[in-house]
Every structure is written in C-alpha cells, then in structure tokens.
C-alpha cells in the first residue's frame, strides 16, 4: 500500500490581481522507504506541491491521501494533529525557536503531542546524537551554525517518528561543505528506513534520491532514477 497518493492536484492563487496556476494536475505516489527528490526551476510549483503533500495548504482541486486518510476530509484540528504525529517538516531557513535550546526545540513537537517530560528528554538526546549534536544540546539556537541549526531542525522533524519526512530546500542556506553533511544525514535517514520527499535545487541532493521528479510550469514532466533507493 502506498504511503502517500496525490491525485490530479491543482493549485491556483491570486497574486497582484492575477491568478497564478502553481500546479496543473499533478499526481504522485510515494511508497514507504522511498527517497524522492522534486527538482525544477524556480516558480515551477515544487514548494507548493510539498505544502499540499504536507497538508499545510489546500489544493484548488485534486486530493492527497496519507496512509489512506484523505487530507481534505480533515478539519483543522485533525489535520494539525496529523502534521504533528505523521509528518516531519524541514525548512530552508530552519525556523528554530531562538529562545529555546537545541534539545528544547527538538522536544517541542513531543510536548505538543503530550509525551511525558522524561520520554521527551530521552528521545531528544537520542535524536541529537543521531544528527551528531549531542554536545550542543544545551545551546540556544542562535548559538549554533547554519549546518547545526538544520541538523536540529531535522531532529525536530523526526521527534514524533513521522511516517514521511518533507524537506523544502534543506541545503539552500548552507555552504557546500555543510550541505554535504546534510546530504549524508538524509542518506543515512533513508537507509534507516525513513521515507523522504525533498524539494531541491541542489543537484547533489537530488542525486542522492532514489527517484527524481522533474517539474516545469506546474506539471511533472519527467521522473528519473537517482543513486539512492
């Protein structure tokens, strides 16, 4: 059974008095364990597609089903809960809470999910170790480098053991060497069983994926194989 099924997604939104057709009937299926990279020029609709897949925006037409649940049938609370427990998000600009430490940022989704404090702390420690930041747990987000912040953001995305990890340009704000570390981390995550959909301009990152989906003008125009599974 596929983990994620997107069917005939279209997304139109107004901009400066005109209607922008961001997506024009996109269909996509993601199986458990897939590592999918979505590539294409700026404005082709890849970030919009990721937002629809993650239930943080609603399609103008079409549907998205995660583990058999159609997202458009869910109310705001149920959709929020689904994002909290079944999806993990990584953003280009990390978006950590600057007033919290690395560990507290990782604990945040678990606290929201109602996990007891001891369990949260243990899981945060485990995740920070996984991303190579066990020594930085107590540092505020503002005291971390870009690469470290993105690692914390990845640990945060994994906190509630999501079924699917969605990443939007995760290396976009990082230099090449630091970005390489993030690529390796994604590779390792997928090897350990995580299902990943990543939107990227970074050819190296796309090359790591098992499936590379090419978009242009709101359409999927091609799908190729990457080096990954």
């Amino acid at each position: 059974m596929p983990l994620l099924v997107a069917t005939a997604l279209t997304k139109d939104y107004p901009m400066n008095g005109e209607v922008v057709h961001a997506l024009r009937g996109v269909s996509l299926t993601v199986a458990p364990g897939d590592y999918v990279a979505i590539v294409g020029p700026s404005g082709c609709g890849k970030s919009t597609l990721l937002q629809l897949l993650g239930g943080i925006d609603t399609p103008s037409a079409g549907s998205v089903a995660l583990e058999g649940t159609r997202l458009e049938t869910l109310g705001d609370s149920a959709l929020t809960r689904l994002r909290l427990t079944r999806l993990g998000f990584v953003f280009q600009r990390f978006h950590l809470l600057p007033v919290l430490s690395a560990a507290e940022n990782v604990e945040l989704p678990m606290a929201e999910a109602g996990l007891p404090r001891d369990a949260r702390r243990a899981r945060a420690r485990e995740l920070l170790r996984y991303v190579g930041l066990e020594g930085r747990a107590g540092h505020r987000a503002t005291q971390l480098s870009g690469g470290e912040m993105q690692r914390v953001a990845i640990a945060r995305a994994l906190a509630n053991r999501p079924a699917l990890l969605l990443a939007d340009e995760p290396t976009g704000e990082l230099d090449a060497a630091t970005g390489r570390g993030i690529l390796d981390l994604f590779r390792r995550l997928n090897d350990d069983g995580a299902t990943i959909v990543v939107v990227t301009h970074d050819d190296r990152l796309a090359g790591e994926a098992g499936r590379v989906i090419h978009m242009l003008d709101g359409h999927i125009v091609d799908e190729t194989r990457g080096a990954g599974r």
Partner: protein
C-alpha cells in the same frame, strides 16, 4: 514557549513596555485606593475609640458649626437609660487662649470626661483623673507653642469678648500628659480639661452646654441611634455607619473621577500590551507559521501569545503596585496637610481587597489585550506566510 523567554528577546522594548504598564498600574491602584480609601479612613477614625453613635445639635454634624447642646447632664442621663448604651462621652469644643509671657496664644480647647472619652490617646505622662479640675492635657503642637512640659503650669484664658475685646476669666492648670487628639489637623495646638472647666472657659457653664456627645452601644448601632432619636427628637443622632453613608454621598463625584481615571489607565494598558504583542506577533509570523506547519495547535499559539500578555502585565503590574504605593504615600502626605483636615485621615488606604482587585483587573486586561494579536497569530495562513517569509 516560555513567555518570559519570548519577552527577553527584545529587552529594551520589553523594559519600556513594563515601565508604561507600571505607570498605568500605579495610576489605577492609586485611583482604586483613593475611591474607597478616604471613606474607609473616615470610618476607622470615627470608630477609633469604639463609640458608634454621635449626637450633635439638630441639622449639624459634630463640630460642623459652633452650635451647642444645652442641658448636657439631663441628655446624658436620658441616653444612659437606653439598655444598649454603655457609655456617653460629652464633648466640649471651643477656641480659648493661654498666656505665654505677655501675650496670648490661641488654642483649641476640648472638654472631656476621662472616664468616657472618645477623642484622644495619651502618648506621654498621665491621663486626667476623674475630678482633676486642675489638670491639663496637651497635644504635641500645643506643648511646642506653649513651651510647656509635663508638670508645668499653664494659664488658660477664656474666649475674648467680641464686644469688649478684652480677655475674660482665667484658670491656672498643670500639664498632666501629652495626647494625640484624634480629630486634630496636623500641627493643631489643642488642649483638654474636664468638661466643667472647659465649659467655664467657653462660657457654656450656665446652660450646661456641650458641643456633641459620643455614645458607645452594644448591638446594632443603627437601632440604638433610632431609639435615641425618638427619645431626644431635638438633636441630630446618627450612627457612624449612617454618617459614613452621608460622607459617601458627598464623595460621589470624587469616586466617579477615580473611576474615569482608572478606566483610562486600563485603556492605556490594553493599548500598550496590544500594540506590543501585535508588533511581536507580526515579527514572528514566519516562526508561528512554522510552528503551525509542524503541528502545533492554534490553541497552543493563542495560549502562548496571551500568556505573554499576562506575563507583561503581571511583571509591569508588580512594579506598578510598588510605584503606586510609593506615590500614594507621597500624595497622602500632600493632601492631608490641607488645613482643617484631621491629620489621622488618609486619602489612600491600602487594603488587601483593593490590591487584589487591581491585580486581577490588570492581569485580565493583559490577557484580553493579547486576544487580538493571538487571534491574528492563530489565523495566519501557513503556506502563504511561509511563501512570504521565503521571499
């Protein structure tokens, strides 16, 4: 999402907001204390010696005018016949003089019955003994004016005859004690003798006149006052409770002014906290959209923003209470120095209820002020905000 940590992100802005809230809180607190303080202080003053009923000439309040009550002994005896009456304190009040060298010093003279007195507390020396017609009590300002100490001799001179402009009879007395007269204005030079002595000096003796009576009763003071009124219809007889009510009516405009100023200060607090939180929420739109994206519920976001408002007002309010109490003390000092006001009266009387009321109103105000920014934060469209933040 600790609200204090969020507030610490912009320390200067937060400090300025706290200062603003502290000032408005101080104003609110002072208005609350002022609205009820003088009334409470007035009641405390009147009940200071436990006498709950006042008797004065018809149509007046005690010492409101120079009117007096003739036949004091008979009236006192009538009142004592009421089973609820425990003590009747006759009070004479008149301006008199004392000799100091070649000149005369004007004083206020009280005639009291030391066995039943509602007017003073001895602070040094001894009280007058019953029948001590040669004894004198002095206020500290009178002691200063007369340069007299306990054991000294003072010559009291009766009121000047306005027709003849010459002094009347005089009486030599000995200072027994220094007292605090409860109803004296600040720096008022007052002396006290037994009632008959002061009656003689004030030319009240012939008709046995007194200025007022204070009456101590058991049980309900209003009922006792009503019975005494029925028995002595030519006199004005009120319980302290009734007098406080009349006083309250006189203070209606004063209370309304306090209410208006208090409301304005609350309005300023709402605007201040609301503006600050709206700015903060707008600055953190991306962060809030991210939180919503990763599954943080709207309720959590709303609670966090409103908690920030609550934390701001709690901290600012705490500072404001200290500031308000300090300014109330200063203002009280200024207001109670007005001539003719009893020094013991206070315009600002802190009490737990007023403080709790001001604190509760303030915290609720802070939370309410956070409601709009919280609503803004929770309603922001996630995808659109993230798109905007990315460009």
């Amino acid at each position: 999402m600790n609200p204090l940590r969020n507030l610490a992100r912009h320390p200067v802005r937060t400090a300025l907001a706290l200062a603003g809230i502290a000032v408005t809180t101080a104003m609110l607190l002072d208005m609350v204390l002022l609205a009820g303080g003088i009334e409470r202080s007035f009641a405390q003053l009147l009940l200071g010696r436990g006498y709950q009923v006042r008797v004065s000439p018809r149509g007046t309040l005690p010492f409101d005018t120079e009117a007096t009550i003739p036949g004091a002994r008979g009236i006192a005896a009538t009142m004592r016949r009421d089973p609820a009456v425990e003590a009747v304190a006759p009070i004479v009040g008149s301006s008199i003089h004392a000799r100091r060298g070649d000149s005369l010093v004007t004083l206020f003279g009280y005639g009291i019955d030391p066995a039943a007195q509602a007017l003073y507390q001895v602070t040094a020396g001894a009280d007058l003994a019953p029948g001590d017609s040669a004894g004198l009590l002095l206020s500290a300002p009178a002691a200063r004016v007369l340069a007299a100490a306990i054991g000294d001799t003072v010559v009291l001179v009766s009121r000047l005859d306005p027709q003849m402009a010459v002094a009347g009879s005089s009486r030599t007395v000995v200072v027994r004690g220094v007292v605090r007269w409860l109803y004296d204005a600040r720096d008022q030079a007052s002396v006290g003798t037994l009632v008959p002595v002061m009656q003689e000096l004030a030319a009240f003796r012939a008709e046995d006149r007194v200025s007022a009576f204070a009456v101590r009763v058991t049980g309900d003071a209003d009922s006792a006052a009503a019975r005494l009124r029925a028995a002595l219809p030519s006199l004005e007889i009120n319980s302290v409770g009734a007098m406080v009510l009349r006083f309250r009516e006189r203070l209606t405009y004063f209370r309304q002014l306090s209410l208006i100023l208090g409301t304005i200060s609350l309005g300023v607090t709402v605007l201040l906290v609301g503006t600050l939180l709206t700015i903060t929420v707008n600055e953190r739109r991306g962060e809030i959209a991210t939180l919503r994206a990763i599954g943080v519920a709207r309720g959590t976001i709303v609670r966090a923003v409103m908690l920030e408002g609550g934390a701001l007002t709690t901290l600012g309010g705490g500072l404001g209470v200290l500031l308000g109490l300090a300014t109330a003390e200063q203002l009280d000092r200024i207001l109670t120095s007005f001539p003719g006001l009893p020094a013991a009266i206070s315009f600002f009387v802190p009490d737990a209820r007023s403080l709790a009321l001001a604190a509760a109103v303030l915290v609720i105000t802070g939370i309410v002020a956070g409601a709009y920014p919280a609503w803004l934060a929770a309603r922001a469209p996630i995808a659109e905000t993230l798109r905007t933040e990315a460009t």
